[in-house]
Amino acid sequence: MKRFMLNLQILTALTLLVLPFQNCAPYRAKVMQENDQSSVQSRASFQCDSNAAPSENTQRRLNKVEYRNTLVALLKGLSAADVSAITASLTEPLSSIPEDIGVKFDRSDSQISQPHVVGYLYVAQSYAKLLTTSLPRAQAFFGACATQTNMDDTCLTRFLTDKAARIYRRPLTSAEVATLKADYASYSVDDRNYWLLTRMLMSVNFLLHLENKGSLIAVEVYAISPYELANRLSYYLLQTMPDQELYAAAADGTLQTEIGFQRQLVRLTSGTFAPKIQSLAGEFYSAWLGFDQVPYPGANPTAAYMAMAAGESLSRESMVREIKNLTDYYTFQTSGTVDDLLTSDISFAQDRDLAGIYKVAPWNGDPTNLIKFPKGERTGLLTRAAFLATPSAQTNPVMRGVTIRRNILCDEIPPPPDSVMQQLRTPDLDRSMTTRERYAAKTGSAFCMSCHSQINPVGFALEGFDSLGRYRTTEKIFDSDGTLLNSLSVNTSVQPNITTADSTNSSDAEHFNILVAESGKVQACMVKQYFQFTFAREPDLAADGCTLQNMLDDVAGPSGSLKKLFTNAPQSKNFRLRHVH
């Protein structure tokens, strides 16, 4: 529901359709310098100072998925029918909690607003009510010694040392036990269990990923406690609270041993947990590659668009599904690398409409029956329809360029000045000019080129594909009534300047993709994005250099693979540390 708000924030970047006026120049030096640094770092690796403290991170709340999963996990011990019924009944209360919207990754949203706390209370009361409306449920949750409404002191003590520790995801201190016992006594005898559970589910100890029990190992740097480590591991990989075995490993200290940690990491990334890792990767790819930015082709079917489409249609779902198939194949069905993503000549289009656009047969999902693109037409992630399609009759090379620069290469592209923003216009149609020529003319001033010199070549390199993503060597020019005015040869030769130090020319999209892959910037970009996804904060290149380098080795090293990025992140030293300033 709220996703479109974020889309529009991202669309700010895409509004650089035309920068017809000045104001780019002040940015140029800064941008080129920053983007240069990024590229140099990516090829020469990140700077790793093993003595550097990790960057600071703050206490976060459980995100909505974690919150829901944790509530369900706490039902362990109830009958399957009760778990199912309670889970279903929680759907409505949970819908009252705002959806998460992170700056880049939703799972890192840590905002706590009034709708959140109102929603938490609604959920907590509903949850407590559901668990106290029948004796079997109450006893399964609070203990066999409990009634629906009450526990005697012995029973309460047992609950606070056992189940309550699962709710707080760590053993309670004696002070906390005493406080909760006193609180319990303050409630009406008619429904003490209900109030106690509601109160615990509203506590900061439940709602936040509290990490305040660590041990000092250097100035402002703490090794997080075994329970905090178990929680980090479980929530990072599985988005839920630690299971019994992981919790036990925290309790008996084995999780803090290297062998014990590795054993848990392997267990939680394989076997029955493997689908969770695929889900984790899917969540990352979706946000990093911007699945939600994939347009709806034909949303505004003008006469010109209908003429351009010539009877072909394309759904957004088909395009997104293909990217999911592509990333899933190279991450989990083969030991693929980023280079594979960027240069693959295999179509993963399962839907007939997209396969038609590619002029191949639909893929049946069988990894032993892969279907290649027609030779010489397209290779790599960036030539998939999801990165090419626009809802209009003409391509938009500036939009394509900005998307790739920002999302795939992690380049800083400054927003256009307000004076430009208010006068954005697509270049006027001209029957004698290709789209490339029109955009080049409109952005041709030296001042505009201070930004567009980075944007345009990337978009122009992909002009061999029309706005439905079909391969082309000529561009058809239609007027607003859909009348064909002209057919012009497209030019895909560019000097893309993937890095400022690289002045190599590319002749077509295939060559362009190779330059992108060889630059190392995509790998570095992916790692920086993944760091943010994992640690819920932007990386500090100095403080987090070792972690970034480890991740880069996992994904781009001699034995690196995409899968390693997802399973190895907890190996980082910083995964077990917290910087408190």
Partner: protein
């Protein structure tokens, strides 16, 4: 001025410190005293549908607002008494006979245009112009650049201390049909108009609204003191705040952590105040029937018929207003009340005007009019709850799939702030602008007259609720949310921008964006 240059971080730090320093004082507990004041309480109610596409003949009377009444924004505007169209026995096909008993309390308005030439303007209906659904990158980027990140007016009112001097049981009810949840944009930090907006989750079940307004933990209807359940809730939040305080003063809590914890505490404190709100005994207040189950909008059609569902919804809202538990209710209609296949959006695209008209009329007759009827009961002083309210019924699109000449019907005079019984036409007749969303297909091209800016309805609503411009104005921002003109490329042939001159059809009325609606406000 409401505009507050403090940063969000400063706000959090400040409010957190306040929380830590001050105990909750019983003497500060809120009290509803609406029955004891001489100035009537004003309420804001809006019911609307998204994404229309009407046949103007269905929407408007068979007679015209034909009395040239004033020169406004450099053009003549028109007015006439609102009456029935003789051949229809109703105002119009959509504004059906269900409205006939209330003619004198209504206003029909033609010619209110959103300054953004955009086809999915659900959020703009209540005044948020920055984030709109879908759309292309050009206009989406322009909206981000040119519009402030404000709450919709219902949520601005909900956190206005002038509108709610005391925290109510519930600040607003945000109903929905389930088709689209857009429209209600809350503030990330309630009470801080500069904190940015967030889309609010709608209330999808009458039972939830009932529980919030009348359920356990809410003030008893027969007593002015907090109930036992309320006191228990207060105690519970005190205990939760105790946990927060313990964590905050404990180990390994950084300065940034403290800001986060303080923010959490502030929200908990507000929640607590809501939970212990008490109510004076109000004469027309009676608790509605407790819903028997947790049916949601998703159950319509399978477990409950639509009419019963919305009757329950409107009964609870009306009771909540009459019992002083809230003063704001908004409700979106849509898919659940449609009559044919497809949905409002697809009909808007396809020009299926009969389906749109039927849905609009159904919503009018089953949501808006029932609310109106339930509130048109004596509140004292010779006025009804309806008289003291401003109710708005409309659609964010009009006869095209775009937000010009948005259909707006108002009811109530907001305690005498508004004149009623009028049909006004603000359009600049004679200046045709081609605005068809689709130039081809089965949706015919449309030309429209430009009117005045929709912002004027927003500021009229805010002032009708007792606010002044100083309460909501921001430097350089006109008409609550701003009035920058954004439209299609003029070469598209579907733009308000004149291709030859480059001038937008609304340029001449920009300066009036922050003014009250002409002809309708009492001197």
């Amino acid at each position: 001025m409401f505009y507050n240059p403090k940063s969000r971080r400063q706000f959090l730090v400040g409010s957190g410190k306040a929380f830590l320093a001050l105990p909750v004082l019983e003497s500060l507990l809120p009290r509803w005293a609406s029955a004891q004041t001489s100035t009537p309480e004003r309420r804001f109610i809006a019911v609307w549908l998204p994404l229309g596409g009407f046949n103007a003949l269905d929407l408007y009377p068979t007679y015209a607002a034909d009395v040239p009444t004033a020169l406004y924004s450099n053009h003549t505007i028109y007015q006439t008494a609102l009456r029935l169209s003789p051949a229809l026995g109703a105002i119009s096909k959509i504004y059906s006979a269900a409205l006939n008993p209330y003619l004198a309390k209504l206003n029909l308005i033609e010619g209110l245009d959103c300054p953004i030439g955009f086809n999915h303007g659900e959020n703009t209906f209540l005044g948020h112009y920055r984030y709109l659904r879908g759309g292309d990158s050009v206009r989406g980027g322009q909206m981000l650049a040119m519009y402030p990140d404000v709450a919709s007016i219902d949520q601005f009112l909900a956190y206005s201390k002038k509108f709610y001097p005391q925290i109510p049981v519930r600040r607003s009810v945000n109903g929905t049909s389930g088709f689209l949840a857009a429209g209600r944009m809350g503030l990330l930090i309630p009470g801080d108009p500069n904190s940015g907006s967030t889309q609010l989750s709608p209330d999808r079940t009458p039972h939830k609204i009932f529980d919030d307004l009348f359920g356990p933990g809410t003030p008893a209807l027969t007593s002015s003191g907090p109930s036992a359940s309320q006191l228990q809730s207060k105690t519970l939040i005190d205990q939760v705040l105790g946990d927060l305080k313990a964590v905050r003063s404990g180990r390994l809590i950084s300065g940034a952590d403290k800001v986060k914890l303080d923010s959490f505490a502030t929200e908990m404190q507000e929640l607590q105040q809501k939970l212990i709100a008490t109510s004076a005994v109000l004469p027309m207040c009676s608790k509605p029937t407790t819903p028997t189950d947790n049916l949601t909008i998703d159950d319509i059609g399978s477990n409950m018929d639509r009419t019963t569902f919305y009757d329950l919804y409107t009964s609870i809202i009306a009771a909540g207003i009459k019992c002083g538990r809230t003063k704001i209710a908004t409700m979106t209609g849509g898919n659940n009340i449609e009559s044919g296949s497809g949905n409002l959006h697809s009909w808007g695209h396809d020009g299926k005007t009969d389906d749109v008209a039927n849905t609009m009329r159904w919503t009018l007759e089953n949501v808006f009019v029932p609310l109106l009827r339930k509130l048109d009961v004596d509140e004292g002083g010779g006025k009804t709850y309806l008289d003291n309210s401003l109710m708005i019924f409309g659609n964010d699109n009009s006869k095209i799939h775009k937000s010009w000449s948005r259909p707006i019907l108002t009811a109530g005079s907001a305690g005498g702030f508004l004149k009623t019984g009028n049909y006004v036409d603000y359009r600049q007749r004679g200046v045709l602008t081609k605005l068809a969303y689709y130039g081809t297909g089965n949706f015919p091209a449309h030309e429209m007259y430009p009117g005045i800016l929709y912002n004027q309805l927003l500021v009229t609503a805010l002032q009708a609720m007792g606010l002044t411009p100083a309460d909501y104005d921001r430097p350089g921002i006109l008409g609550y949310s701003g009035a920058a003109l954004i439209d299609n490329d003029p070469t598209s042939g579907t733009s308000g921008i004149n291709l030859a001159t480059g001038v937008h059809a609304h340029t001449h009325c920009l300066a009036d964006a922050g003014k009250l609606l002409p002809l309708l406000v009492k001197a």
